[in-house]
C-alpha cells in the first residue's frame, strides 16, 4: 500500500503507451446507457474505440488484457457543465479564462484556444475518473457568452473533442444584468440578436450597412446563425419556472433551436412542459436552497421529478467550483440514489444515476454516438474503480482515454508524498522528491 505513495518523478512524466487496443475482462461492467451492470463482463477497445462490451465477448488474440478482478468498469465520467481547462486558479486572473467581460465580442467567442490541457485541474479531475467534459464559457460583455467545447482530459496536448459544441446564454437574473436590467430586455435582446444574425446570413452586407449601430459583430453573427439553424445546441441558464416556460417558447419563433436547459432549479414545477418540448436539462442536483428569488422552489428532488416526468436529466457539478471539482460528479449522482429512500423525495436508481453522468450529457450535447457509453463505436474511455463508483471515496485504479492508458498521478500526490512526515530530514523538503 505505502509503496504506491513513493511514485518517482519518472512515473509522473512517463508517456502512456501509444497503443490504443485493450480488453478488460472479469468486470462488473457498466455500459452507461441506464442498463444494469453486467457481472463478468468484457469490454474490447481497438484503435481507440469500443468494439464490443458485454457478457461473453471474445477477446481478440494479441491485444493487451487486463483482469478487472470483478471490479466496476465503466465509461469515463462526462462532466455535464464545466470550466475544466479554462482555469488554473480562479482568483489569479491571468490563469482564469472563464469569462471575457471586457471583450467587444460575445457569441463569437470560442473557448478552444483558451484550454490548457497541462493545467493541474485536468489531471486532478482525470484521476477522479472524469474523461470528458462539456466546457462552457462563463460570460461576455453581452448577452451571449460564447461557444463552448467538448473536451477530453487525456494526458496529451490535444484537448478538444469537438469545438464550438455549444453556445451559452444566461436568462433570469444574470441575463437581466447583461441585457439592461430586466427580463423584458433579455428576451428582446436575444430576439433582436438572432434576427440580426439571420439578416446577416441572408445578406452579409447588412452588417456593414449597420456600421457602428450593429448590435453584434460579424463573428457573433456567424456563431448565432449556427444557433438559429440548430447546428450548435444552445445551452440556456435558467432557473425560475416562469422563465423556463418562456425560454421553451422561443422555439415558436426559432423552431430549429436545439435548447438545453442549465440549472432549471424550479424545473420540477413545469416538468411536463419541459418533457413535452423534448428539451434536455442539466442540473446541479443538490441545489436545495433558495439562493435567489428565482430558486425559491429548489429541492434535491428536482432531478428525480424531472426524470419521472420523462425529461432527459444530466447531473453536473456547477454553481460550485466548476473547474476543479468535477470529481464531485459521482458523489452528487450517488446522493440521488440515497435520496430515493426517503419518503416524499424523488431520486434516481443507481443505473439511471450513472447514465445521468455519462450517456445522458453526451446526448444533450448531441454526441451520444461518440462519447458517454461503452456501446460499440464510442471512444475508448474506460475506468476501473476500486469500489462502487458512486460511493464516497471510490477512486479509479486505471483510466483509459481513446484507448490510451492514462497517468493518474497529480501534483497533489507529489505534495502529499513530500509531507508524509512533516519534519525535515537531513536536507530541507525541497530536496525530497
Amino acid at each position: 500500500m505505502m509503496r504506491a505513495l513513493f511514485l518517482s518523478a519518472a512515473a509522473l512524466i512517463a508517456v502512456p503507451a501509444a497503443a490504443q487496443d485493450v480488453a478488460i475482462t472479469n468486470a462488473k461492467l457498466v455500459i452507461g446507457d441506464g442498463s444494469a451492470p453486467i457481472e463478468g463482463g468484457t469490454v474490447v477497445v481497438r484503435g481507440g474505440k469500443v468494439v464490443a462490451a458485454g457478457a461473453g465477448v471474445a477477446v481478440p488474440a494479441g491485444i493487451e488484457r487486463v483482469d478487472a478482478q470483478g471490479r466496476y468498469v465503466t465509461p469515463g465520467i462526462v462532466a455535464a457543465f464545466s470550466r475544466v481547462g479554462l482555469v488554473e486558479v480562479d482568483a489569479v486572473t491571468g490563469t482564469n479564462d472563464r469569462s471575457a467581460t471586457r471583450s467587444r465580442f460575445s457569441a463569437g467567442l470560442d473557448i478552444a484556444p483558451a484550454l490548457n490541457p497541462m493545467g493541474s485541474p485536468v489531471a486532478v479531475n482525470r484521476a477522479a475518473g472524469v474523461t470528458r467534459a462539456i466546457v462552457a464559457p462563463g460570460s461576455s460583455s453581452n448577452l451571449f457568452a460564447g461557444q463552448g467545447a467538448v473536451v477530453d482530459l487525456a494526458d496529451d496536448m490535444d484537448m478538444v473533442t469537438k469545438p464550438r459544441a455549444l453556445q451559452y446564454v444566461a436568462f433570469g437574473e444574470d441575463g437581466s444584468a447583461k441585457a439592461g436590467g430586466s427580463r423584458a430586455a433579455t428576451f428582446l435582446l436575444f430576439r433582436e440578436q438572432l434576427l440580426a444574425a439571420r439578416s446577416y446570413a441572408r445578406n452579409p452586407a447588412t452588417l456593414a450597412e449597420w456600421g457602428n449601430d450593429a448590435m453584434i459583430q460579424r463573428a457573433d453573427a456567424e456563431a448565432l446563425v449556427r444557433v438559429i439553424n440548430g447546428t450548435t445546441p444552445l445551452f440556456v441558464r435558467v432557473d425560475r419556472a416562469a422563465d423556463i416556460l418562456n425560454v421553451i417558447k422561443l422555439k415558436t419563433e426559432f423552431p430549429a433551436l436545439k435548447l438545453v436547459l442549465v440549472g432549471a432549479t424550479e424545473g420540477w414545477l413545469v416538468a411536463r412542459d419541459i418533457a413535452a418540448a423534448k428539451v434536455p436539462v442539466l442540473v446541479s442536483p443538490l441545489t436545495d436552497l433558495p439562493g435567489s428569488f428565482e430558486q425559491l422552489g429548489a429541492t434535491q428532488s428536482n432531478a428525480g421529478r424531472l426524470k419521472a416526468a420523462g425529461v432527459d436529466v444530466s447531473v453536473g457539478v456547477f454553481d460550485d467550483d466548476d473547474a476543479h471539482k468535477m470529481g464531485y460528479t459521482t458523489q452528487y449522482a450517488g446522493n440521488l440514489v440515497g435520496l430515493s429512500k426517503l419518503p416524499g423525495a424523488s431520486g434516481l436508481t443507481w443505473d439511471q444515476a450513472f447514465a445521468s453522468i455519462t450517456s445522458v450529457p453526451a446526448r444533450a450535447v448531441g454526441m451520444e454516438a461518440t462519447i458517454g457509453s461503452l456501446k460499440a463505436g464510442r471512444v475508448g474511455d474506460l475506468v476501473i474503480w476500486d469500489n462502487d463508483p458512486l460511493e464516497l471515496g471510490s477512486r479509479p485504479t486505471a483510466v483509459w482515454i481513446d484507448g490510451k492508458r492514462q497517468s493518474l498521478v497529480t501534483r497533489q500526490d507529489r505534495l502529499r508524498d513530500r509531507y508524509l512526515t512533516p519534519e525535515e530530514g537531513a536536507l530541507p523538503k525541497a530536496y525530497d522528491r
Binding site: D90, G263, D288, E294, G334, R416
Partner: protein
C-alpha cells in the same frame, strides 16, 4: 466578486475568497470606535448582554436500540442502545443494558447513531439565503480590525439554511463567524441548530465567545484595494501586532483596577488575552500559521483552531505540539492562490500526527453533508495505508470541534450527562446513500424524515413554491 453565478455553492468560492467582501458602504474613520461614556471608577461590564433564551424543547423518554453507535470520542458499540432522558444522554451501552419500559422505542437495526454534527465554520444567518445584497451581513469590511462587532447581531434566524443543515446534515451545533475580509473580524457565536424567532433563542447556553481572525490574501486584498493598510502580508502582521499591543495596555489598565473608557473592540481583545474568548483563525498557508503562532506567543494568547488550514499537513507536527486544531475541507482547492497546495489527504495526515482534526464547511450546501466530506477524507487516508476506523473519523465532526469551541463538557459525544444532541442515520453515515432519519437536540425530536410534521419550515419559505417539500 463571484456574484452573479447562482446558488449557494458558488458562494463557496466567493465565501472562501472573503465571505463576499463586496462593500458599497463608506468607511468610517479609523478612530470612530464605538465607545460609551467614560467611567469614573472601575466598573464591571456585563459580559453577557444578549443572553441565550434557549431552553430546549419538551422531551420524551427515548430509547434507540439495536443500533451501531459512534460515540463521537472514537468509541463504537455494535448492536448498542442509548437512553435519552430529560434532554440528556442518560446511558449508552450494549445489548445487555437495561432499558426503561415506558419510553418511546426506536429500532435501529441496520441504522447508525451518532452525536449531532458540529460545524465549527458557518456563515448561516449572516450570509443567508436568498443571498441578496440586503442580506449581506457577514463582513464589516470598513476597517481591517473590527473586534467590536459580534456576528450574532447579524444572524437572521429565518435563514432556510439552518433547516437544511438540520434535515440533510444532522447538524445540531454550529459556530457562526464573521467573514474574513478583516484581520480581526469580530466575535463569533455558537448556536444550537433549533428554529427560533430570535438569535437568542438559538444561542448555545454557556458557550464561550470566539474572536474570528484572518490571515493571508483576503484582508490585504480588501484593504489594499481601498488604498490603505494592510496591502501586504507584512502589513497584515503589523496591523495585528499594533492592535494587540493596544489591547494589552487596555487589559493592564483593567487588571490594575483603573478606570477606562469602555472600548468594545479592546474589550473583545482583552477577553482573548485573559483566555475567556477563544481565537478561530482563518489561515491557509503553513508558513503563515507558523507566524500567527509566534504572534500568539508574543502577546500571550492561544489559537483554538486554524480554519481552512489547507496546508496543515505541512506543519502537522507544529500544530500537534502547540495543541491547535485544524479545521479543514476534504478536497476544496485551487480557487485562490493560498488554496493551491491543498491535498485530499490533509485531514488524514493531521489525524496521523495525532493532532486535533476537524472537518468544517464554510458553506451553506456542504454543511448539509459534512458526513460525506469526512468520508472522503477517511477514504483518502485509507488509500495511503492508514488505519482509521469509522468511529475515529467521527471525532472530526463531534468531540474535536466541540473542544475547539469550548463546549466539549456539554456536547460533542454520547457520554451520560451530556446534551442529548443525537442523529439516527438510515445507514452508515459514511456512505453516500445514507441520510439522517431523526435528529434530537437536547433530547427533543426536531427532525424526522418519516414525519412531515417534524420538518421545520422557516418564515421565509412559508407560502412559497415548495413549502414543506423534502428539499
Amino acid at each position: 466578486m463571484i456574484r452573479g453565478v447562482k446558488g449557494g455553492l458558488l458562494a463557496a468560492v466567493s465565501m472562501a475568497l472573503v465571505g463576499c467582501a463586496a462593500t458599497g458602504t463608506e468607511a468610517k474613520s479609523a478612530g470612530d470606535k464605538p465607545a460609551t461614556a467614560a467611567a469614573d471608577k472601575p466598573v464591571k461590564f456585563n459580559k453577557d448582554p444578549y443572553p441565550s433564551t434557549y431552553k430546549g424543547y419538551p422531551t420524551r423518554l427515548t430509547v434507540v436500540r439495536n443500533v451501531t453507535i459512534f460515540d463521537g470520542e472514537g468509541g463504537r458499540i455494535d448492536n448498542g442502545s442509548v437512553v435519552l432522558s430529560s434532554g440528556k444522554v442518560d446511558r449508552i451501552g450494549g445489548p445487555d443494558m437495561e432499558l426503561p419500559t415506558d419510553a418511546d422505542v426506536y429500532d435501529g437495526t441496520g441504522k447508525f447513531l451518532t452525536p449531532g454534527v458540529i460545524d465549527i465554520h458557518s456563515h448561516l444567518g449572516d450570509y443567508p439565503s436568498p443571498s441578496v445584497d440586503a442580506h449581506s451581513d457577514g463582513n464589516e469590511a470598513t476597517s481591517p480590525t473590527t473586534p467590536e462587532v459580534w456576528s450574532e447581531h447579524s444572524v437572521w434566524p429565518q435563514d432556510p439554511g439552518f433547516t437544511r443543515a438540520l434535515a440533510n446534515g444532522g447538524v445540531t451545533t454550529l459556530e457562526i463567524l464573521p467573514g474574513s475580509a478583516n484581520l480581526m473580524g469580530g466575535r463569533s457565536v455558537t448556536l444550537k441548530n433549533v428554529p427560533a424567532r430570535t438569535m437568542q433563542g438559538m444561542k448555545f447556553p454557556g458557550a464561550p465567545y470566539s474572536l474570528k481572525m484572518a490571515c493571508g490574501e483576503n484582508p490585504k486584498r480588501v484593504y489594499g484595494a481601498k488604498g490603505r493598510m494592510p496591502s501586504t502580508r507584512m502589513g497584515n502582521l503589523a496591523v495585528n501586532r499594533a492592535t494587540w499591543q493596544k489591547a494589552a495596555a487596555y487589559k493592564k489598565k483593567m487588571d490594575e483596577g483603573k478606570a477606562v473608557d469602555r472600548d468594545l473592540a479592546m474589550e473583545t481583545l482583552a477577553g482573548v488575552l485573559s483566555g475567556e474568548i477563544l481565537v478561530q483563525n482563518h489561515c491557509y498557508r503553513a508558513d503563515e500559521m507558523a507566524i500567527v503562532i509566534d504572534m500568539s506567543h508574543e502577546f500571550g494568547y492561544k489559537v483554538a483552531a486554524f480554519h481552512h488550514a489547507v496546508e496543515a499537513y505541512k506543519i502537522a507536527d507544529l500544530l500537534k505540539k502547540e495543541g491547535i486544531c485544524a479545521a479543514m475541507w476534504a478536497d476544496w482547492w485551487g480557487f485562490k492562490m493560498e488554496a493551491y497546495d491543498s491535498v485530499p489527504e490533509n485531514i488524514a495526515l493531521m489525524f496521523k500526527e495525532g493532532a486535533c482534526t476537524i472537518v468544517h464547511s464554510d458553506d451553506a450546501n456542504q454543511i448539509q453533508r459534512l458526513n460525506q466530506e469526512a468520508s472522503k477524507a477517511l477514504a483518502a487516508g485509507r488509500r495511503m495505508g492508514m488505519q482509521i476506523s469509522d468511529e475515529q473519523a467521527w471525532t472530526w465532526l463531534a468531540i474535536n470541534p466541540a473542544k475547539a469551541l469550548g463546549i466539549a463538557d456539554k456536547t460533542g459525544s454520547l457520554k451520560p450527562g451530556k446534551m442529548a444532541d443525537v442523529v439516527l442515520w438510515n445507514g452508515n453515515p459514511f456512505s453516500v446513500y445514507t441520510r439522517p432519519e431523526k435528529v434530537w437536540i437536547d433530547g427533543a425530536l426536531m427532525f424526522d424524515a418519516m414525519d412531515p410534521k417534524r420538518r421545520p419550515v422557516t418564515d421565509f419559505e412559508l407560502g412559497q413554491p415548495g413549502e414543506g417539500d423534502v428539499k
